[in-house]
């Protein structure tokens, strides 16, 4: 039996098993903290999306809750002004280089960005910030059956993580650097990749924003959207 620790989050007392991260502790207790790059059971959270910020009594400034272990007696605030300001700024940054055409996107209505936008009361297209697309092609098709759209991608790295966890010998990886960082399937022309990836689906299913999709499913989806538009126009 693992020990339990008790902490206070936004005035609410919660008990979680020792070793749980503050982020998991909150999520498990129905306190939502925006997050993109976090996955259950990650040993070394990348802490890259910078959305899951919280303030903790006794600590200087907002800290990422995914990298913070819950400690007995900890007092956490998830909704201070400073936390919200930074979350909003980070979110605006993310959508400022995002294509954001939700209507035709396969992730429409189940997209994490939509959820976070709703939570932070922000539009999905920021007017405050310039729109700067990445300097990379809009659609990359270097995989035999999976399509990658860099301008939808938020570089959370979930796909890279799950693919590696499955031990796929042709896993995907980050490529390039800085603003033009992308996810790459380099080398996936190899034999057997197509079938294996169709069976696995892990990266496509885990993507929070629909940046990865199977080419044929995407095609079908776009046709349906197109048809729907036609119907609406006719009606």
């Amino acid at each position: 039996m693992r020990n339990k620790v008790t902490m206070t989050v936004d005035g609410l007392e919660i008990s979680v098993p020792a070793g749980t991260t503050v982020l998991d502790a909150c999520l498990d207790n129905g306190i939502y903290i925006p997050n993109l790059c976090h996955l259950d059971g990650m040993e070394h959270p990348p802490a890259s999306c910078r959305l899951c910020l919280v303030e903790v009594d006794g600590m200087r400034g907002p800290v990422t809750s995914c990298t913070l272990a819950a400690v007995d007696g900890m007092v956490v605030h998830t909704n201070t002004d400073e936390v919200r300001e930074l979350q909003k700024l980070a979110f605006r940054m993310l959508v400022s280089c995002n294509q954001g055409n939700c209507r035709v996107c396969m992730a429409n209505k189940r997209c994490d960005l939509q959820q976070i936008a709703k939570f932070l009361h922000l539009p999905l297209r920021t007017k405050q910030m310039r729109h700067i697309p990445k300097d990379v092609p809009e659609v990359l098709t270097d995989h035999p059956c999976i399509v990658y759209e860099p301008n939808k991608c938020v570089l959370c790295g979930r796909c890279v993580y799950v693919c590696e966890r499955r031990g796929n010998p042709f896993s995907l990886s980050f490529a390039n650097r800085g603003f033009n960082t992308i996810v790459t399937f380099f080398g996936s022309e190899a034999e057997g990749v197509e079938d294996a990836c169709r069976d696995c689906r892990a990266c496509v299913d885990i993507c929070p924003v629909g940046a990865l999709s199977f080419a044929d499913e995407r095609e079908r989806h776009l046709r349906l959207v197109e048809a729907g538009k036609g119907r609406r126009k006719a009606g």
Partner: protein, 650 residues
């Protein structure tokens, strides 16, 4: 079993003997500064010039190549030891000057060529010595003492000047005592953050896990700083000695030097030094018969500024993308391959042997109370004497720039000094009395960083300067975290618009808001410090930002879109073609009265014509905003029927 110090003494004795002969040569000895900067300035030609001239005259003389003294303005630097003379230091010696030196001085020891002389290295009755110059007088060369004096490829010369004595002593004292000494000396990491080295060592020493590793961080990526390179090129053994002492202190069995691949000479020198030290039993197995083993290797960094960050550097060593990781855990506890790892900067490690030799009390007597020791800066830009300068901590910026570096070159006005590279800040004249140490600089809004210092005169536009640094950090951002990846890109976009006169006052607010967010939200120190140049320039030079926004004007006439060149017809000399010849875009044409004018459509605003125009005419003018170019009623030659000689087209 002999004690390490005794063993070392027996190694050093013949070396010292040999060194004495070199310093008091029977025949002329010429030493040429042949590190990267010397080579770039043409030291290869200098050496060839000496060889040729010596052979022609049949003079027997030795030529030795040494590292860099840091006097970049004077390269190629040559020292001549001529029997009967004190060693004399000469500046800017090319092949031609080498020939003159041979013919006038070395032939018979008559004329020591005062026109090339800087001064004598030793006190004497005839020649001015280096100490007669403020540049040499006010510097305190501790770490760089032997740079440019001893041959970097010679372990004997390093031994002769007392090298590896600190290692021998440390081996006798044991690691714990070494950590105590370094902690007592309050040595702070010279890589930029200023974390106390002793505390870092202690954490690693007490941390579990083997093998432990010490890493010398020579991934100097700051554009405009090259002191680490100079130390590795000019005195690699001192770095190795510090590295070995650090390894002993934390109980490491292996040591790595992470050196930028762009520094081939540093890699070569350090690799040779490792081999030589290994052969003398100063590295490798059973060092100085003490039972302490240390394997040392060089790893070449592939060019990513972010790899100066400890966790990114470790990722890169493990064969991964050099992306910083969340800390804690700190590398001193969980580092390379999960084991305790200490990463110290080249300058930090080079200081270690001095502290062990002279003691922590001596060290604390130099510099300031919170930051003892010296700082090395590479001062570049518009000063009279650019180069590497080592000064005690606490020296004021004004003293460093005005006295030691000779002030602003060309009689122009000081405007700002950018300290600490891309993560540092720009300080104006009003902040020049800030003492140089970690905390004072940080309070002023700049930082020590890696020690890059760019001095700018009134021709530099602060908006453009901050755009330049953000462009750099933006390109070098690893792309992992949102704030740094996207935030710096937005900063760059706004700053670029500013320099083109397209930004609004709301953009200025956005700059501040973004900067504050990036500082608070970024994962690693690259992001956390990236907005510093923007914030400091906005704080001290807001009027310039406003001029760019409100008047579409660049007060320094540097932003090209906001500036135009024209030729003052009153000043232009009839028939002179100097500017036409230099213009890379053929934008300059001859007017109907055979003067010159600039076609604004073709002009790329490179400013070449300003330099090409003979000073006695000085006819090229620069204005901002561009519409201020006066209408001088220019008619191109040949387009005007009334003009005689309209038949020949310029």
């Amino acid at each position: 079993m002999a004690r390490p110090t005794e063993l070392l003494a027996s190694l050093a004795a013949p070396a010292r003997n040999e060194w004495g002969k070199i310093r008091q040569p029977e025949r002329p000895l010429i030493t040429v500064g042949n590190a990267t900067c010397g080579r770039a300035a043409g030291s290869g030609d200098t050496i060839a010039g000496f060889r040729e001239a010596l052979a022609e005259k049949g003079i027997g003389a030795d030529i030795r190549t040494v590292g860099c003294m840091g006097h970049c303005y004077a390269e190629p630097l040559v020292t001549i030891h001529y029997p009967g003379f004190p060693p004399l230091l000469y500046q800017k010696i090319g092949a031609g000057e080498a020939r003159v030196l041979v013919n006038s001085f070395l032939v018979a020891g008559e004329d020591p060529c005062f026109e090339y002389l800087i001064g004598a290295l030793e006190p004497n009755d005839t020649f001015p010595t280096l100490m007669d110059y403020p540049r040499y007088l006010y510097e305190k060369r501790l770490i760089m003492e032997h740079c440019g004096v001893i041959e970097p490829g010679s372990i004997d010369q390093y031994l002769a000047v007392g090298g590896y004595r600190a290692l021998a002593r440390a081996l006798e004292q044991g690691g714990e005592r070494v950590v105590e000494e370094i902690t007592a000396a309050k040595l702070r990491g010279r890589g930029g953050a200023g974390f106390p080295a002793g505390i870092k060592w202690e954490i690693a020493r007490n941390a579990a896990g083997t093998p432990k590793t010490v890493i010398c961080n020579g991934d100097e990526g700051d554009p405009g700083a090259y002191m680490d390179r100079t130390l590795m090129e000019s005195n690699p053994h001192q770095v190795l000695e510090g590295l070995a002492i650090a390894a002993l202190a934390i109980g490491a069995e292996r040591a790595l030097l992470y050196i930028r691949a762009e520094y081939p000479l540093a890699v070569e020198m350090v690799e040779k030094a490792i081999t030589d030290a290994g052969e003398r039993g100063l590295l490798g197995k059973n060092i100085l018969d003490s039972g302490f083993d240390l394997e040392v290797e060089v790893f070449k960094g592939s060019g990513a500024f972010v790899c100066g960050e400890e966790t990114a550097l470790i990722q890169s060593l493990e064969g991964k993308r050099g992306m910083p990781q969340h800390r804690p855990p700190y590398p001193a506890v969980v580092g390379l391959d999960g084991n305790p790892t200490v990463i110290n900067n080249v300058k930090t490690l080079s200081t270690v042997p001095l502290i062990i030799n002279h003691g922590s009390d001596w060290f604390r007597g130099i510099g300031t109370e919170d930051t003892p020791g010296t700082a090395i800066f590479s001062v570049v830009g518009e000063v009279e004497y650019p180069g590497l300068v080592e000064v005690p901590m606490g020296t004021t910026l004004r003293h460093l720039i005005d006295e030691i570096c000779g002030g602003i070159a060309g009689g122009r006005e000081f405007k700002a000094v950018q300290i600490g590279g891309p993560s540092g800040g720009c300080l104006p004249a009003s902040e020049l009395d800030t003492p140089i140490d970690f905390d004072s600089l940080r309070r002023a809004g700049a930082m020590m960083g890696s020690g890059g210092m760019v001095v700018m005169n009134d021709s530099a536009c602060m908006v453009e300067v901050s755009r330049y640094f953000i462009d750099f950090t933006q390109k070098e951002s690893c792309g992992k975290c949102t704030f740094c990846r996207i935030g710096t890109r937005h900063l760059l976009d706004i700053l670029t618009d500013l320099t083109k006169g397209r930004a609004t006052e709301e953009d200025l607010d956005e700059l501040k808001e973004l900067s504050a967010g990036i500082i608070k939200g970024s994962l690693c120190s690259l992001g956390k410090t990236a907005p510093n140049p923007v914030l400091t320039t906005m704080r001290f030079f807001m009027d310039e930002y406003l001029a760019h926004v409100r008047e579409r004007r660049c007060p320094a006439c540097m932003c090209r879109e906001l500036t135009a060149y024209y030729i003052d017809l009153e000043a232009c000399a009839r028939g002179c073609d100097a500017c036409v010849a230099c213009c890379p875009t053929e934008a300059i044409f001859t007017t109907s009265n055979r003067k010159k004018a600039i076609d604004q459509e073709k002009c790329v605003k490179c400013g070449e014509c300003v330099y090409a125009c003979p000073p006695e005419y000085d006819a090229v003018r620069k204005v901002s905003p561009p519409y201020l170019v006066p209408d001088q009623g220019v008619v191109p030659l040949g387009k005007d029927e009334a003009t005689e000689g309209g038949e020949d087209d310029a």
